[in-house]
Amino acid sequence: MIIHDIVIVGGGLAGLMAAVEAAPGADVAVVSKIYPTRSHSGAAQGGFNSAMSHDDSVESHIFDTVKGSDYLGDQDAIEILCSDGPEVIRQLEMMGVPWSRTPDGRVAQRSLGGAGFPRACYAADFAGHVVLHTLYEQALKAGVRIYPEWYLIDLLVENEMLAGLLTWRLDTGQTEVIRCKSLILATGGYGRIFQKTTNGHANTGDGMALAYRAGAVLADMEFVQFHPTTLYGTNILISEAARGEGGYLRNSSGERFMSGYAPQKMELAPRDVVSRSIFQEIKEGRGINGVYIHLDLTHLGPEKIAGRLPQVQELARRYAAVDPAAAPVPIEPAQHYSMGGIRTSLDGETNIRGLLAAGEAANVSVHGANRLGGNSLLETVVFGRRAGRKAAEIVSGTDLPAPPQASLESARERWQANFGSSRPLAGGDSCFVIRRELNRIMTGKVGVFRTGSEVAEAVTDLAELRRRYEALRVSTREAPFNYELTEHLEVGYLLDLSRLTAEAALRRTESRGAHFRLDYPARDDVNWLNHTLIKKGDQGPVYEAGKVSAGRYLPQERGY
């Protein structure tokens, strides 16, 4: 039995920021299914929004975020996000983040979508990477105990209070119980429910699914962001920074088609708007080869591309065999970010005592129905820090909860149920097959454009997939690096989260932000200006409306 004051699950930006913040006053451990520096935060390219230049203002950042969220963001949380921005950026500066600089030495900032000012602090196009590695350095400095390649298996909750967690070591194949006073889930998003996604293989929403199973409230799962510019075919991310630095989107006639959809913001309209516009162009026959759009950077010149967008250039060369300095890059939208997640207070607390969440795994909610580029990286550090602070406050002066008993017993039973001989319901069934079908259903029927009948089909198809999944077992246990088992566990999480996403999308009969219903194309503030709260019930998920924290800004028509 291992004991820590605070356990943080997930070693990306939110998790490491929480760890660094909590470490001076508590015994902190980070449990992560991959080495922290492998976290997908490192793939973020564009930047961290923060109103810092003399002509920008926190107020303007707040307004852009509220409008970008299609008025579903909680304005109290957004106010914290934007107000804390400058201070957190200064903190990262002192920790050693190698930002790009202005000629007078300040942190350089660029424009990203939906923003009134160039306010994304950047480090060429490696923003997520350099901050991830800097926070890792700080975690080492602070003496944070790291358990790399340990999987979270179950949250141990007794009497609605967190008592610990059951983990599984990839290197030995054995389980370990960790007791703690407080646990922060910073496990990221669940983009791998989609066939087309920018997300890495690890982004299977483990923390969200396990929190839901343990009784935590999830929110707004129907709001899934599709990034407009991913490499056609592989869906590797091409940063919004490419458009922030002046890149154009062109259709098959070479036309900058965004003029027809967002005449003012053009390519820098918010992502929901740009992704829909791209699909509309393709649908109306103006896609290139009928299936993709061009991201044209050629006019930026080789020097600017190599200086500001070196990673974008390398990715396009290697994975699409196109040098963006010489030719336009074929792109298509793909899933990128989960606005939904574990519902939290402004300090990261969930409805389960001792359980907190931060970052993409959480829904606080600063992004509402659509996230702006540059706001998710900011969210990880602002709300990771707040969650770390709150956890430290919770553990000081309180005793360790009693050792988990009933919850551990049932967790062990569930664990055992993973193993044995499969009795597949369909010939040739396996987790690989189920994952592929799940991905196809979600991208095909619960994507950028949704209709009630298709989403309803998806819900039925997913239930059938779940039935088939339940018949499968893993043959080996206690083996080192048993990826057959990780696949089995992760497909289970993906099935849970797909169901919640599809059902929430079916339930919301309006269009708002990234959730677009062809059969209900208008926003409906009378009936739907509310969060979707989801809790596990005896008969499956229970959905209800949650109040949006309003503030200064009342809903207006959202033009760009």
Binding site: T37, A43, R90, W99, R101, R106, R318, F432, P480, E487
Partner: protein, 216 residues
Amino acid sequence: MKATLSISRFNPITDCAGYLKDYQLTLEPHETVLDALFKAWELDPGLSFRRSCRSSICGSCAMAIQGRPRLACQTLASELTGEGGAIVLGPLPGFRRIKDLVVDLDPFFEALKGVIPWLLTRPDHNGLVDPQEAHRVESPATCILCAICDAGIDPGGGVSPAALVKNTRLAMDPRDVLGADRLKFTGLTGDGLKSFRELLAGICPKKIELPGPAPE
């Protein structure tokens, strides 16, 4: 495109030694060695290999490809199959193998502590950094800690290659209290550092260029 993936297998519970196992695959022209590994895994779910980002930024999938340490997700299969031979995959050399293509990386991450692997920030740092100086740090700061340099280079001097990169990056940072004094941690002479820079340039998947010493 037909390809043979020849993967070095080893299960510590049952095997006395590693052995090569072949997988016959059909690959698309743009697919990487990592994509090929996923196809092999479907044929043989017991196969173990690390992966995450699939876009050369997380450093998970470092392994020996045709005997050379590389990232599987950064290597196009078509670049290797030109001669019609098999694609041969083994664990990253220089590390203890745990299973199949997975090696024990704890010593790698531990070795970073051979330098002080974080910025010791000058107390009087005012938030400003000269853009030229910031630019010098940019390339080494793209290190993804994939361990390929540790697998392929021995700089001598007792400090691991990745730790040398980290240390050099911090030494060049004008915000660091120690600055150039950090070069004393390396156990290398000027010539030793120069030769390390050249070896690194030949192997690093992020093409990290360590600049020479700052002009006096």
